[in-house]
Amino acid sequence: MELVSRYHASLLRLARIYVASSAVAEEVAQDTWLAVLRGLDSFAERSTFKTWLLQIAVNRARSTGVREHRSVSIGDAGPAVDASRFDFSGAWMSPPQHWVEDSDDRLSADALAAVIGAALNNLPQRQREVVLLRDVDGLSGREVCEVLEISEANQRVLLHRSRSRLRQAIEADLGGG
């Protein structure tokens, strides 16, 4: 089936984000295809097949286990940058140090990946889902809204908080700020 060969790799990649082994990822992917076949009739109104597919995959992982995380709202409400770094007028008092250009020298790609991976792990679940789908899996904002069934405004808030946290983590690791 051409559809399968076209999307299976992408599905595996998404599943691989969530599960420990490639064998389990393969199972998730296959189960998703089964669910797709069973529900193909309900596909008609969906905008793209890919988001529908990923939505099914995400729902699989979530539908049972996230129950205890149900109270999870939009996540922590902390500012993107600690208020102590601005003066009374809201201007930078402790501005960001320059590290973009030399971060390659100071931190290997592997070390940077480890810092971001650990920071992702500490994010509230909703934030983590959004940033994984957007920035790791490369979905558009609209697709993420469809997959996670959230509004565009919520998507942006979650994305903002998660990206801000990840930037903080890199900054902290590089000793800047």
Binding site: Y18, A20, G65, A83, G90, W92, D135
Partner: protein, 85 residues
Amino acid sequence: MLKLRRELVCQEMVELITDYLEGALSRAQRRRFETHLAGCENCTEYLKQMRATINATGRLRAEDLTPEMRAEFGDLYRRWRSEED
């Protein structure tokens, strides 16, 4: 909502940055954002760091995610399967 015409301060800039990158600011807000940016080296650096963060996150592979995180989702998945069966 922020009031129009007043200049943005850095502390507001860092909270608007995602809306800016997402193209979600109104034309007037966008103009104010870019006006501040043009005159503020620190916020320009901050924007650069956010873009660098997004790029670095985009280069993550499944292997870079912590075992705890992968285990968490693996666990959810296994529980879902066992309920399904």
